[in-house]
Symmetry: C2
Subunit: 790 residues, 2 copies
Amino acid sequence: MATLQDIGVSAAINIVGAVSFLLAFAFLRIQPVNDRVYFPKWYITGSRTSPSRNRNFVSRFLNLNPLIYLTFLNWMPQALKMSEHDIVSHAGMDSAIFLRIYLLGLKIFVPVTLVALLILIPVNVSDGTLSFLKRDLVVSDIDKLSISNVRPQSSRFFIHIGLEYLFTFWICYLLYKEYSIVASMRMRFLASQRRRVEQFTVVVRNVPHSSGKSVSGSVDHFFQANHPEHYLSHQAVYNANRYAKYVIRRERLQNWLDYYQLKYERHPDKRPTTKRGLCGLWGDHIDAIEYYQAQIKYLDKRMAVERENVIKDSRSILPVAFVSFNSRWGAAVCAQTQQSKNPTLWLTDWAPEPRDVYWSNLAIPFFSLTVRKLVISLSVFALVFFYMIPIAFVQSLANLEGLERVAPFLRPVIEMSFIKSFLQGFLPGLALKIFLYILPAVLMVMSKIEGYIALSMLERRTASKYYYFMLVNVFLGSIITGTAFQQLHSFLHQSATQIPKTIGVSIPTKATFFITYIMVDGWAGIAAEILRLKALVIYHLKNMFLVKTERDREKAMDPGSVDFPETLPTLQLYFLLGIVYAVVTPILLPFILVFFAFAFLVYRHQIINVYNQQYESVGAFWPHVHSRIIASMLISQLLLLGLLSTKEAANSTPLLVVLPVLTLAFHKYCKNRFEPAFRKYPLEEAMKKDVAERAEEPNLNLKAYLADAYLHPIFRSFEAEEEETIIVQEKADKQEQSHEASPSESELSSPSPEHHAEEPELQAQAHAHAYQYEFESSQHYYAYHYGYDQ
Amino acid sequence: MATLQDIGVSAAINIVGAVSFLLAFAFLRIQPVNDRVYFPKWYITGSRTSPSRNRNFVSRFLNLNPLIYLTFLNWMPQALKMSEHDIVSHAGMDSAIFLRIYLLGLKIFVPVTLVALLILIPVNVSDGTLSFLKRDLVVSDIDKLSISNVRPQSSRFFIHIGLEYLFTFWICYLLYKEYSIVASMRMRFLASQRRRVEQFTVVVRNVPHSSGKSVSGSVDHFFQANHPEHYLSHQAVYNANRYAKYVIRRERLQNWLDYYQLKYERHPDKRPTTKRGLCGLWGDHIDAIEYYQAQIKYLDKRMAVERENVIKDSRSILPVAFVSFNSRWGAAVCAQTQQSKNPTLWLTDWAPEPRDVYWSNLAIPFFSLTVRKLVISLSVFALVFFYMIPIAFVQSLANLEGLERVAPFLRPVIEMSFIKSFLQGFLPGLALKIFLYILPAVLMVMSKIEGYIALSMLERRTASKYYYFMLVNVFLGSIITGTAFQQLHSFLHQSATQIPKTIGVSIPTKATFFITYIMVDGWAGIAAEILRLKALVIYHLKNMFLVKTERDREKAMDPGSVDFPETLPTLQLYFLLGIVYAVVTPILLPFILVFFAFAFLVYRHQIINVYNQQYESVGAFWPHVHSRIIASMLISQLLLLGLLSTKEAANSTPLLVVLPVLTLAFHKYCKNRFEPAFRKYPLEEAMKKDVAERAEEPNLNLKAYLADAYLHPIFRSFEAEEEETIIVQEKADKQEQSHEASPSESELSSPSPEHHAEEPELQAQAHAHAYQYEFESSQHYYAYHYGYDQ
């Protein structure tokens, strides 16, 4: 068992780690050369450009203003400055709602921590059973502060039960309030949105094959017949996976060409050479620039042929279409009703935003979807339950007695008290973290196989798989296998009433493990997030080898985005830990509080300055967050029930049975009351926007507006791309001139709010820029949307 | 343990019982005086009228044709004569689909029985462990034919597992076929239906209160704004519960008046008297006819006042409306989308048929619905799990050893071998049956409290509650408490892997109990169904005391209907028994087969000749039937898994684990593929019917057609009723003249199929008649629709 001293060592290590990350960040962010790593968002919104050329050479790379170094932590207050309203227009609704989760965590846990510490710690300490039993049990100091310290059959358990009720009601109250705020934010956002193509468009899958008619023909015929007053046009979807591969290969060649051209420019005396063989590793030396130019030319020809093929060959038209309507009302009706007698044909759903579409999955037929879902749910089950074994193995190593038995030669090292504390405090959390590192990628691939057609949906599904994984492996796995791996088998053969008991009893003893976990994963992890080490290194490498023009520098910039599939489940795990331990071992709560506060600051900073969201789902993840916090409450209630029943608190325990029922009823009510706001689009809203628009722009040519909105991205030819980029670039330049108040690079503060006063305009611009960015980083785009590795 | 001899006795009793019921039925049904009890459906469709007056007195009551008595079982072939297509038009889709369930039972169990008997019985018998163990265990002869007789670790279990796979695949195949047939029958029926008010109508609940506007006003405003091209009109709903009570009281007074008037007519010399006090039991003697006439007059006045009140008082308008559209497409859109931003307001759903509306529940607000559902689901849980205790008590009495201990003075009687067999064979089933008798009424009240607004929905919900009850109490309860009531407690504390073992082991030993149950509940119960003893007695009582005119006689006739809340769960229980025992104790299967065959015949006869459905849900119950048969398969697989794991069949058991997964996947696929046909209305269909209708009747005044369709039934005044009745009566007479081929009463055969040649016409007439019948028996109607006792 870890003692308070172990925790102290671990805390020290993690705090030192976190602080050094922060110092490094504070130093690196104010160097102009790193500006595009730490403030890419401002480049994308167009309020910042590269350091002007009129400065001296050094100051373009290093910040020489000594005053700046004195205020190196000022990013924290700056992160708090921007109002929520501005964040919505600056970074989108998803980011704003994401931040609200951390705020919710603070709102929940600040009062809970105060109450729990002030009431429970005195109650637990004063009943001191554990000091009497000390000879038999090895208990840590922390256990003396926990519920384990209360005598069996004590009537003090009424206090714990009372607090569990109190906390449940408090959390439910906050959840209800938050859900209603988020739902109305979503509604308001949707209502205030300008005209967007996805409001008028429905994706139709499983278009049936009818002989003698093309897919386009039957789509036209079907919707003209069944939505005569609303159908406008449709966009067929081509199976261009092979063409997309060519695009990616061409991008790669272009990168190499750029690299060699740059090399040649810098050393004009020596033409760069390469080798003909695999990856330029062997073969004859040849002129690199000529070689890559020839390769690209050849590829361009093949691409032209392939493109002709795709467009002309009717077999490459998939039985999928994006159908557009002449009103939001018509689209809302079509998306939310069943079209055909056969419910597996003409499946309609809201079209995702064009940048949110995952094109490869559009062609999966209905039957295949059913099979895929079955296969993937079985695999997720297997993954969740058999991943446990290696983790348990590593953790049993981190159990020092076990380690000494396995490797007796290590004993002298392990017995050194500092190293012992280090191992016990640091290793178990770290082992887990490494295992978890590769997991999201695996889960994302699984979700892609399941066949969802929107990236946002894919991310949500991945997040939900990841949550199950964390729940079983991090939470339950650590509690059960941590004490004894052998318990696992017996656990599977226990009765339904026995399981909460087994877990409930181990819960207090695991508090120290979770405290370390919070510090390693939470504190240090968040500090690493703000440093962006990986992005920093990659940017500088690209800058060194590839960047020739301003546009290349834009391209080398990788703003990233909130990593929902990973951060949401992690967050939910912290909620679970906080809620479960609130009554059992309240000393864990301050650690969670620090995590929520710190993470809130860091993510606020990152969202304002760094991240650029790939899509806008308008908080579609909120119902999941909500229902998982409720699940956490249920788990905590069941475990407390199990724990108390082993404490022979027969007179107080039955009081707890009502609580899960009430919690479930609350969940059901919230689901009915608020979830439709996230899943459906009310006709009243659609009609209101239609009417307003018709009054405003009676002569709008909607058909022209919608044409090509859902064109497969690879058919936007490179020429068109170039053109568009230039146009957007011009606009951006103009805008920059108009925004003379834009913060200078040396100031390095986040821009003042007045930039966001003309909201719709700015939003539209941001949108245009997002597209521009997308075109420019098309290589990333294809890789992301097609799941190919580059 | 019951032996084969016990079963023989029980079978004999039940067969004698069933045969005597059948004989009584055969005798009673050919008496003209009972004609309206056994052939009411033909009176309702209008192809039969009362025995003509030109016969002699005796032959109006007794059938004197001796030839008829020789062919007294000829109802059986007659019941099979009518084709399914004719049944649909004669008795409705629900009845036709209901019969298909029995047919499905036969299709499933005929091959399963053959295969199981031919393969498993030899396999089980020849392994004879039980004969060796006879001294230790008291085993019945039936156990020797069951899986209990196979040696532990025997490789013969591969045969059982193989057959479980085979049966599962066979059942899945049939279920798939059946689901697709039923779905397409439903689709075809809906497509071929003539214009009906519910196709154009949507029920809107939770209309929000807006100040300064009436409910009607805001409904008009909302739908004109949001469905401008489709909204036609709406019908407000009045809270007329008190008025409905008056209507019922008036009916009761009218009955007494009729009774006394009849009495006076028969004995004109003596005016009947009654007493003024409660129920005419005490008080002064007064002239009965005058008294009731005065009472009715007084009530009529009060009713007129109340009616004015309801119509004028704006508070009696409920926040509910029936909204009509000018096309099926418009109604389908409105019913299947969310209207308002707030998902608890403007809740739209398909309007039930006018005769299917349960008016009292229309006014329940959203929040109250959530609470009601919670409360009722808790009560159902309590009912299902604590009803077990009295049943277990009675069954432990029926366990003879227990009975002798409780009442030792009974020993001499019990020890008589015939009585012993009788008690063991008959009592347990009977005890259960009596308990189950009052249950459906209780469950129906619960469903009404839950707040469903259609009678068909109420019946389906009741059926589902009843199914859970049967599953836990009849199936599990009999298996566990039957052997030892004490097991119940230990059962709650067993692990998830232990529970199937415990039940699985008891399963073979309970085969005899279920065989008796099938005979008592199934065979004798069905025979009692055809006899209609209760309806017979009540009809003759009414005939004696109340009937004056032809119309009164119509009114006294109670055709009843298929009692879905009770028959569906019962049926599903038989499927469960058959599927569970198919591999374990195949000797049970022939009993199930007999049940399905016999019940099929009886219900076919009843549906053709007796029942008159209250509503038409077009087979909306099928998804439940389907999913419960699938649940039965899952239960059987789990129990077999448990049973085999106690038989130490370690090499064969793991093979079974795949089966539940496959079954679940099949269920999921079927649900996605077919269930939308029962829950949604595709726009394609709606549009097709709209277009066809517009082409056919371009000048249709839909508004007039829909006006008053959803008028609260009590506002159809009595005068209007009388008028309508006369009109319909005239029509019926005309129709009768045109159908000269109608079967004469002495023939007593079901009418020849040509009556159903002109289908739509006949259907429309049947519909009209159904309404006529409804008006006439308005007392029944109100009681049914308001849940009041008469």
